[in-house]
Amino acid sequence: MIYDVIIIGAGPAGVSASLYTKRGNLSTLIIYSDESSLEKAKKIENYYGFENGINGKDLYNVGIKQAKNIGVDTKKEEVLNVLVGNEGFRVITDKDEYNTKAVIFSTGNKKNKPNIKGIDKFEGRGISYCAICDGFFYKDKNVVVIGNGKYAISETNDLINIARHITILTNGKQAPEFRAENVDINTEEIEEINGEKKVEEIILKNHKKIETDGIFIAQGVAGSTEFAKKLGIITKQDKIVVNKKMETNVKGIYACGDCTGGLFQVSKAVYEGTIAGLQVINYIREKYTKGE
């Protein structure tokens, strides 16, 4: 089956969008897994309608229930990749794969980029954020994947038949359960990335060096920035660029809430979710029902 819309993220932005798309008769799936900013907010006192304020985690859970109650499908799975499909898009999670005509990103405000000396300098010169896009340039070469979660493993798998050897560097985090012939796992912390014109080596805090031709950044749970790079969505300072209709430059892909930058507030996420939801309804109606 193909969904009309898949919404990635179940915070105020994603849930608000779903309330409109579902009411607009679109088959709607919300996928969520990682933490929402709301879960960290002890008490929200500046959002309309709660006379004594409300605990962020409670508001988050109530939102998800509200979506379920009106018939929105929900899956608690980690999205690892979003790709352009034959018709619409393919959303790949740690458990399954889903097809959809439209995607709404509402993955919140994430800072996945590790704070490592040299990372900005070598962006596009050996530092990559997309194995499937840039793997080609590392055929039979040695590469490093920085990360330790499911997303890092997913990126490693995209490189396994291309690169000669892969080192998964967890940068001090716990080693993942993963084994493959040409893959090593190293849990040392990273000091800096070095090279002349492009990436040549990684210096670890224990002063050891790893020589490498390329570094793939895959820390934490992928967010809108990572998906944007894979899809060719324009970003600015790691936030998705949208117009007033919450459209990105890629037709059929919308973004709302904290992942578009600006004000990090529930009210803004709700507003943008509303617009994204309504716009997706128009998009699907115009694209798929005319002339049928």
């Binding site: 896009c133 340039f137 969505i233």
Partner: protein
């Protein structure tokens, strides 16, 4: 405006020996993000047609060129001026950013 895809041997004549500015979009057919860059490059070519030549280079067929210009991520867009690299844009880049950078 349709953009011509250059073969290795044409690069010298069309880009390196050109007086003035030439914009080159390094791409591949299998690259998803590159498809999103195409319409943007076409618009830039149209808007700046009096001051700029625009070409594409398929990295699959022209690996020497990709290596020569350190292309390790696509799309990469390089602005040449009088045959010299003047600016490099990595990843899908906004039309206005390109136009402002070229002018």
């Amino acid at each position: 405006m349709e953009i011509l895809s250059l073969k290795g041997e044409e690069f010298e004549k069309e880009v390196l020996s050109q007086k003035g500015k030439v914009l080159v979009d390094f791409y591949a057919d299998w690259c998803g993000p590159c498809r999103m860059m195409t319409p943007i490059i076409e618009e830039v070519a149209e808007e700046l047609k009096d001051e700029l030549k625009v070409f594409k280079v398929n990295v699959d067929n022209n690996q020497e060129l990709a290596i020569k210009y350190d292309v390790m991520s696509i799309p990469t867009i390089i602005l040449f001026e009088n045959g010299e690299v003047r600016k490099t844009y990595i990843g899908v880049t906004d039309k206005n950013e390109l136009i402002n950078g070229i002018k």
